[in-house]
Structures are given as structure tokens and as C-alpha cells.
């Protein structure tokens, strides 16, 4: 009994001292569970996020844009792998993690349940969705779990390219023909609010936030992160002469931040709960890809078995 308390105390001391928790350290079960939930959802988001972008891969307007998009999507697959591996250090298997996604027990960022309807959406996704992800991930570089923090450092190094290519791509459309400009504006109109939703519910309504902040898994609150994203994005939109679709958006001299309108939380809940435009399609596609890859996993297992059988003689 005394020993358990000591372990808990050692853990708390590390957290207080801004030290990282490493896989072999003792940690409370709740901390482990909370991390598995957050990290696996983060990994799933990287992987599911490839779908809306993959939708335009074969229809990219130039070879250059196609190469860029392919490179970006490849990075996202890599991010998924970094994060799955980091999650596995918590003593859960890849199979269990993927199964939780397929059973609907694990979520992923709800923004990927929106469709990518036009080529301009690809620019908007890089600019806004990766932009919002960066704000979140920069803060997570200081998360208390060592493997998660180190994965975030690697990911953040690659994300800057993602956002820039998107912004540059939509900027080209915004200064193109009237039709192209309208396409860029339409993409911003459709992706703006879902991007703000990426930061999750208001702090007061966020189920896991308080404990996550105490354990320093999360370092900044949902509302703080959302505010930073809005503050940095407003001028980016102005510079390329696109209008953010929010009549309540205005600079607040007193707060030294932009005020902005209320998110449609009903829509947020609907999408989280599986009723977004693409929820079924995204999950079905993931299951299908996973099932189609079964023969590869079987072949690898058979190969390894054959090899160890040989050397075992």
C-alpha cells in the first residue's frame, strides 16, 4: 500500500518538475488510458486524413501539384506510424488499436468526415486543417509522455511544408480567374468552421480536458489553441483577399485577440456521433483497405515463420 503511494508520489513529482514520463516508468492506470485514447485518436486522424486528399490525387491539375500532394499524403502515413508506435509503448497492440477504430470505440478528427468537393479544397485542407493541426501539435511537443513528445517534434518538422503548399495552392486560385477565385472562397467557406471544431468542445464542456491538463498530457486548453489559430489565420486570409465566413469576426483591442462567432455545436455533435457526410465512407474505406492488406500480413508472418523454423534447426 505504502509502495503504491510512493510510486504515485514519484510520478507526481516528475510531472511537477516538467520531467517526461518514459515507457518503463510507473504511471497511474488513468494516465495510461488517457494517453492511449488521445494518441490513438491522433494516429487514426493522420491515417483517415489521407482519404479526402487522396480523392484528388489522380485529378491534380499539374504533375507538380500531384507530386506535392503525393509527398504530403506519404508524410501523413508516416505520422500515423510514428504515433501508432508511440502508442504501442503503452502496452497495447496495433491490432487492438485498429480494432477500436473499426468498432467505433476510437474516434478520429471529425473534420475528415467532410467531403473534398473541388481542387480548391486541397489547398484549403493544407492551409486550414494542417494549420490547425500544427497549432495543436506545437503545444503537444511539451506533452508529459516522452515518446509522444518526441513523435510530435518529428511531425512538426514536416508539417510546415504541408501548410505552406496548401496556402500557396489556394493563393494561386485566389488570384486567378473569377471562377477560380470563387472556388477558393467556396473552399474557405466550407472548411473554416470544421477547422475551428478541430480543437474540440469549449473547455467547460470537454470531458477529458481537466485531468489531461493536470497530467500535462495537454499543455494548452481547447479554447486557447482555437484562439491562436484564429489570430494567426485572419491576416493570412486577408493577404490573399479571401473572406473568412464569420460576420462576428473582429479585432478586440482590449483582449488583443480576435473575437469570433459561435461554432454550430449541434453539427459538431452530429459529425462526432457518426452522422457527418462521410463518416460511413471513411470507415468503410479503412476497413476495406485493412482487409485487402490481410494477405500481405499473412505472407510476412509465413515468411518469418519459415525463416525462424530454418534457423531453429
Amino acid at each position: 500500500m505504502a509502495e503504491a503511494n510512493d510510486l504515485e508520489q514519484v510520478f507526481e513529482n516528475k510531472i511537477d518538475a516538467e520531467e517526461k514520463i518514459e515507457p518503463k516508468d510507473w504511471m497511474p492506470e488513468g494516465y495510461r488510458k488517457n494517453l492511449i485514447r488521445q494518441m490513438s485518436q491522433h494516429a487514426h486522424s493522420e491515417v483517415i486524413g489521407m482519404q479526402p486528399e487522396g480523392n484528388w490525387l489522380t485529378r491534380a491539375p499539374t504533375l507538380e501539384r500531384k507530386s506535392v500532394l503525393l509527398a504530403k499524403i506519404q508524410d501523413e502515413a508516416g505520422h500515423g506510424l510514428y504515433l501508432y508506435s508511440a502508442t504501442e509503448t503503452l502496452g497495447i497492440t496495433r491490432e487492438e488499436i485498429v480494432q477500436a477504430l473499426h468498432d467505433g470505440r476510437a474516434k478520429y478528427a471529425s473534420i475528415f468526415n467532410y467531403p473534398s468537393l473541388t481542387w480548391a479544397d486541397i489547398g484549403a485542407i493544407g492551409w486550414l486543417v494542417d494549420g490547425a493541426a500544427i497549432v495543436n501539435q506545437v503545444a503537444l511537443q511539451r506533452t508529459s509522455y516522452g515518446p509522444y513528445a518526441r513523435a510530435m517534434v518529428r511531425i512538426c518538422k514536416e508539417e510546415s511544408f504541408h501548410q505552406r503548399q496548401g496556402y500557396e495552392s489556394i493563393a494561386v486560385l485566389a488570384r486567378g480567374s473569377a471562377q477560380q477565385k470563387a472556388m477558393a472562397q467556396d473552399a474557405l467557406n466550407r472548411w473554416w468552421w470544421p477547422s475551428l471544431m478541430m480543437f474540440g468542445p469549449h473547455d467547460a464542456d470537454s470531458a477529458h480536458s481537466a485531468q489531461s491538463m493536470l497530467w500535462k498530457i495537454k499543455r494548452k486548453s481547447n479554447d486557447e489553441l482555437r484562439q491562436s489559430f484564429v489570430d494567426q489565420t485572419v491576416s493570412q486570409a486577408e493577404i490573399i483577399d479571401l473572406e473568412i465566413p464569420d460576420p462576428d469576426l473582429k479585432w478586440n483591442e482590449q483582449r488583443q485577440h480576435f473575437d469570433f462567432g459561435e461554432i454550430d455545436w449541434d453539427e459538431f455533435k452530429q459529425v462526432i456521433n457518426g452522422n457527418g457526410l462521410c463518416n460511413r465512407e471513411r470507415l468503410a474505406q479503412h476497413k476495406k483497405a485493412h482487409a485487402n492488406g490481410a494477405w500481405v500480413r499473412d505472407a510476412v508472418a509465413a515468411y518469418v515463420k519459415g525463416k525462424t523454423g530454418e534457423s531453429g534447426e
Binding site: K14, E19, K20, E22, E64, S67, V68, A71, G131, G146, A149, R150, S160, F161, Q163, R164, Q165, Y167, E168, A171, Q232, S235, Q236, I239, I240
Partner: protein, 94 residues
């Protein structure tokens, strides 16, 4: 004796939260002994808070001569770097 005892590679974590980094190798009879030798050899001035030792034979390495086919640095793909994209004046911090 060194001919008989296996070679171990030594990795040190300088501070909690950092990656373990390869610092060198040493001979030891087993992993426990390798850890003690590594402690005595590599962290006499608080260079680390955690040591990993791995038997050298368990490390599988790529060959530098395979660079072109295996390790392509992708120098022909400058668009993988953020600096490839020019941003309009006034946009910083992206």
C-alpha cells in the same frame, strides 16, 4: 578476454524526454555487466539519466554504398521542404 566477450553498443539519454543517442561500444560478458561498464565508461560526469545496451550483433545496419537505391535523399524533390514555397509579404510564421 575481450575476444571472448561480446560487443555491446551503448546508447545514452542525456535528459529525461530526449532520445537515446549512440555514444560508443564496449565488451562485456552479459547485458548486466555491459550496463555497469557503460555507467563507468560513459557517465562519469552526469552525461546521462538512462543507458541502453544492445549487443552489436543484434544491430542490422544499412550500407552507405546503397545510398542511391535504398537511401535516396530525394534531392530531386525540393517540394518536400517548406522553403520551396514562396509566401506573400506579410505572412510570417507558417
Amino acid at each position: 578476454m575481450s575476444e571472448l566477450s561480446p560487443l555491446f553498443e551503448v546508447f545514452l539519454r542525456g535528459r529525461r524526454g530526449l532520445d537515446h543517442i549512440h555514444v560508443g561500444s564496449l565488451h562485456a560478458q552479459d547485458a548486466g555487466q555491459a550496463l555497469e561498464y557503460a555507467r563507468d565508461t560513459y557517465i562519469r560526469r552526469s552525461e546521462g539519466v538512462s543507458i541502453w545496451v544492445v549487443e552489436s550483433k543484434d544491430i542490422h545496419a544499412s550500407q552507405e554504398s546503397d545510398v542511391a537505391s535504398f537511401y535516396d535523399p530525394m534531392d530531386d524533390k525540393p517540394y518536400r521542404h517548406a522553403t520551396h514555397y514562396t509566401l506573400p509579404d506579410g505572412v510570417d510564421n507558417m
